[in-house]
């Protein structure tokens, strides 16, 4: 019965655009013009996108251009991210192995040093923080350029429906999309230059930001730099977590929200926090069989009422949303399983089942308290890690803020970091959600304008005061929210010796244990011995796990200099695009 669910979602607000034909490993397929390769393949039921270093097939994992696992060869050009590359008519998509076959060289265009562009303000990241800052600065007459790696601005929260669909009834879009749509429209109306599909590959200094856009090199030397790159999802390794069909909640939500494509037909959502609840409710609304929502946090108890009330007073709208998600899941008969986690995924080429176990206060699975679920997709969201590679590369001071070695960029109330002219704002600094990020963006946008000597409009004082007030309300909400979702810190509790920790290089827990036993005491030493962190994602997923495995030597400081060095390229960059 479940197989009858079409993987494309009908939406009365939208009309799908034209279909185009493409091939995948020679097989003819169709997709919608303007959707990504990943979305088109998901509709075709294809999850496995190629084998990696350990020989196992991989699929969509982060869905937002960070993990680099979904790379495919497009018209002979290797290593294009399926989650970021739009399909085009006649495109030949092929899977590739760990070692790529390079195409015959094409004629070389003349190499020249890229021209330097000097906007007054360069904003990196078109999410709520970046867009709000761009808007505020532009309102004061600042010349602003915004760059973003995705095909459309909005970031993860204001994610817009892709060009594959035309909006025919904007009023029927959900509020989150509409708010983003309005903000993007306002920013563009104010004359802000928004550069899409712009990959920042090197932050060599505030005055030397290297960006590739459609194969063309740009160097930005702005008067002020604002970095708002957001966060990416933390990886919690379990046996089978590299199986196609086992993906982050964010990846699955992008399929659904941006492309109106379902990640699967029988889905289990697991992890920790409200995003999973929201997404499970969205899946249910789209007709998906959600077999369970699993959260590592304990079920809310009476004594949490105070926190719930605190959350409700600071952001009543968000609490209502939360209650609505829960109600919808309850009506659909989706069990909410607390104090539990997915501890293994099973399957040959795609996940076909997973094991959920009750966990203790330290996050360890409790013997005999597990259950297996037949599924075709598992979505996991265990919270977020900061995308702080740019502020780290620029030399911004950071501090460890959570006992897990996670770095937080040190900034003042205006978002100014320790590096002159460099502002860092949004979730990358401290996870507080899209609303707080937007407020901070407004505050910082005006602060940038002021620092540039720009005359501020009369309305600014009030708007800034409102933003500060709203920001503190949202921060209070976040504190209350995460109290309600407080869970054991999960890292390697479910990883067996054979479980892969570094997904890119296929390095197992046993490999890392061996390196530690042979004398490695830092993440760098583990990297040099095992390759963990040497891959395309540059250690974004494994580095925190390796850090958790290091001996807790009292005299090894955990600061911005520990962990792996933040080096170019921030994202892989094709040699032909550079030189």
């Amino acid at each position: 019965m479940t197989n009858s669910v079409a993987l494309r979602v009908d939406d009365s607000a939208l009309r799908a655009g034209p279909r185009v034909a493409f091939t995948f490993d020679g097989a003819p397929l169709h997709g919608l013009q303007g959707e990504t390769i990943a979305a088109a393949l998901a509709v075709a039921g294809i999850a496995a996108l190629g084998a990696r270093r350990d020989g196992t097939q991989r699929g969509l994992w982060c869905g937002m251009g960070v993990c680099q696992e979904c790379i495919v060869t497009v018209d002979g050009m290797p290593s294009r991210r399926a989650c970021m590359t739009l399909i085009a008519a006649g495109m030949a998509v092929t899977t590739q192995g760990y070692a790529v076959s390079l195409p015959e060289p094409s004629a070389r265009s003349t190499f020249s040093t890229p021209a330097v562009q000097q906007p007054q303000l360069l904003v990196v990241g078109a999410g709520p923080a970046g867009l709000a800052a761009a808007r505020a600065a532009a309102l004061c007459g600042v010349k602003v350029t915004v760059i973003d790696e995705r095909a459309a601005p909005g970031g993860q929260y204001f994610k817009q429906v892709a060009k594959s669909h035309n909006v025919v009834a904007a009023e029927r879009l959900d509020a989150q999309v509409r708010a983003g749509r309005d903000l993007i429209a306002e920013v563009e109306r104010l004359g802000v230059t928004v550069l899409r599909e712009a990959t920042l590959w090197g932050a060599f200094g505030v005055k030397e930001i290297a960006v590739a856009i459609d194969g063309v090199q740009h160097v930005f030397a702005p008067d002020r730099l604002l970095v708002a790159p957001g966060v990416y999802e933390r990886g919690v390794p379990v046996p089978g977590w590299t199986l196609p069909g086992y993906m982050t909640t964010g990846a699955a939500q992008t399929l659904l929200r941006a492309y109106r494509v379902l990640p699967g037909r029988r889905v289990l959502v697991a992890g920790n926090g409200p995003l999973n609840l929201q997404f499970a409710a969205e899946l249910v609304a789209a007709g998906v069989d959600v077999v369970a929502v699993v959260d590592a946090a304990a079920a809310p108890r009476m004594r949490d009422i105070a926190w719930l009330l605190r959350a409700a007073t600071s952001a009543p709208g968000l609490i209502c949303d939360g209650l609505r998600y829960r109600a919808r899941l309850r009506r659909a008969g989706v069990p909410l399983i607390h104090s539990s986690a997915v501890i293994a995924a099973h399957g040959e080429v795609r996940v076909d089942a997973c094991t959920v176990a009750r966990i203790d206060a330290a996050g360890r699975p409790i013997e005999g308290r597990s259950r297996r679920y037949a599924v075709d997709t598992v979505c996991v969201g265990y919270g977020f890690l900061p995308s702080n590679e740019i502020p780290r590369a620029l030399g911004c001071r950071h501090a460890v803020h959570d006992g897990r070695g996670t770095l937080s960029t040190l900034v003042d109330g205006d978002g100014l970091s320790s590096v002159a002219g460099t502002y860092v704002i949004g979730d990358v600094v401290a996870l507080a959600g899209a609303h707080a990020a937007r407020c901070q963006g407004t505050i910082t946008g005006y602060a940038v304008a002021r620092s540039l000597g720009q005359p501020l409009p009369a309305s600014v004082a009030r708007e800034q005061r409102d933003a500060r007030r709203a920001l503190s309300r949202h921060l209070a909400f976040q504190r209350a929210l995460w109290h309600l979702f407080a869970a054991p810190a999960l890292d390697l509790q479910f990883a067996t010796t054979e479980t892969i920790v570094c997904r890119c290089e296929g390095v197992t827990r046993a490999d890392i244990d061996h390196a530690l036993a042979s004398g490695a005491t830092t993440s760098g030493a583990v990297k040099r011995r095992t390759r963990a962190g040497m891959g395309r994602c540059q250690g974004r997923y494994c580095a925190p796990l390796v850090t958790a495995m290091l001996p807790a030597a009292a005299d090894s400081p955990r600061d911005e200099l520990s962990g792996l060095a933040p080096r170019a390229p921030v994202k892989p960059i094709r040699i032909g695009d550079l030189a």
Binding site: R53, V100, A210, A525, R529, M534, R536, P572, I575, A579
Partner: protein, 387 residues
């Protein structure tokens, strides 16, 4: 713990857990000398963990360009030393308890114009006079030998004995070998003071004092500062240089590839990645002073690489890094006892340090253990600069 407490007493103490220190300790321990290694960081955390892993023989006209004929003649006389170093690498591959990914498919130095062809011819003549197996290959021969090289390349010099090893694994292999032979390691212990005492030397670290009969300074780019603590001046200069790694590619570049007149070394390692270097200038970041790559060097380095190997245009760069490099005035290493300071030894290299590392370690260990020298140390004595 008070740093004046004696925490260790050893016959030989080696400062530096890079390839020079680990090789010295490896051979010392195997000669039965009681040995300890101390380092401020981890095994191979400095230049040994950042270098390209080239097993290198050919002279580089590029780095000889501004040198006078006497300098070049003296440096060329070290070619047999390089050949001995490569023979030792082969021996080590069998001895060490890990795969160091040593492979010697030969090295190709390319010429794009007639001037460069002439440079290579002169270089080959000089190398052959010192016994190196090397020959000129014309365009047709080069296409047959290395079809991945760009068609506009006119000729190359080819040395069949050159190659590569995994620098990261080699230094760990030597460290593990040293441990297995009984050497001790004290890591994360920065040396803060060196004083002579009645029996030899006393070395101060935050973890306590180490007493030793013989002391070896083999600490790469920190060597000059450490030697200064003992009152010895090492004539070293420093640069920071950078490297680039591509994604893993199916095998298509067989050789170690260099250029007659541009900065380039390029090879495909066992894992499939292409490592691109050649001594491109890097910097130190202004905040923390750590080696940092610079954008112009990345672009220029890649432009040379893709001009010579056009297929690289389709490969993605996934990593870059920068590391320290040290230079001696005459390009030769400084090895052996410091005459003015009894029981003090040094083992530091010029650039090409990876190739020479194990042999330099062996020679210093032989000098300490008072064993017959495998190679005459006289040309490498520190005193050549002071006399």
């Amino acid at each position: 713990m008070h740093s004046d407490d004696v925490v260790a007493d050893t016959d030989a103490l080696v400062i530096g857990a890079g390839i020079y220190g680990c090789a010295t300790a490896y051979f010392l321990a195997r000669f039965g000398v009681e040995t300890m290694v101390v380092d401020s960081g981890d095994v191979g955390a400095g230049a040994s963990g950042a270098n390209a892993g080239n097993l290198h023989l050919q002279l580089s006209p590029f780095s000889l360009a501004n040198k006078n004929p006497e300098w070049i003649a003296e440096f060329a006389a070290t070619l047999p030393f390089f050949m001995a170093a490569l023979a030792l690498w082969k021996r080590l591959e069998g001895e060490l308890d890990c795969d160091i990914e040593r492979r010697c498919p030969g090295g190709i130095m390319v010429a794009e114009n007639e001037h460069q062809v002439t440079l290579l011819r002169e270089k080959v003549a000089l190398e052959r006079a010192h016994g190196l197996s090397v020959e000129m290959v014309d365009g047709t021969g080069l296409r047959r030998l290395a079809p991945y090289i760009a068609p506009h390349v006119l000729a190359a010099s080819y040395c069949p004995d050159e190659g590569m090893a995994n620098a990261l694994l080699a230094v760990v292999g030597l460290a593990n070998g040293a441990r297995a032979a009984g050497a001790r390691m004290m890591l994360d212990a920065a040396v803060e003071g060196i004083t002579p005492d009645s029996a030899g030397w006393c070395v101060y670290t935050p973890r306590g004092r180490i007493r030793c009969r013989r002391l070896v300074i083999a600490a790469g780019s920190s060597s000059a500062a450490l030697a200064a603590l003992a009152g010895v001046k090492l004539p070293l200069s420093h640069r920071v240089i950078q490297m680039i790694a591509t994604e893993a590619c199916t095998p298509f570049i067989d050789h170690l590839v260099y250029h007659a007149e541009s900065r380039l070394t390029l090879k495909q390692v066992a894992n499939g990645n292409v490592l691109i270097g050649g001594g491109w200038e890097a910097a130190r970041d202004p905040v923390f002073g750590k080696p940092a790559v610079i954008a112009d060097s990345i672009r220029s380095s890649l432009a040379v690489a893709r001009t010579i190997v056009p297929r690289l245009a389709g490969a993605s760069v996934i990593r870059t890094w920068a590391g320290p490099n040290i230079y001696t005035p005459d390009g030769r290493p400084i090895l052996g006892p410091v005459r003015s300071h009894p029981r003090l030894f040094v083992a530091v290299c010029n650039t090409y340090g990876f190739t020479l590392g194990p042999l330099c370690g062996l020679l210093v260990a032989e000098a300490i253990a008072q064993r017959p020298a495998s190679y005459d140390l006289a040309p490498f004595a520190l005193e050549r600069f002071t006399q």
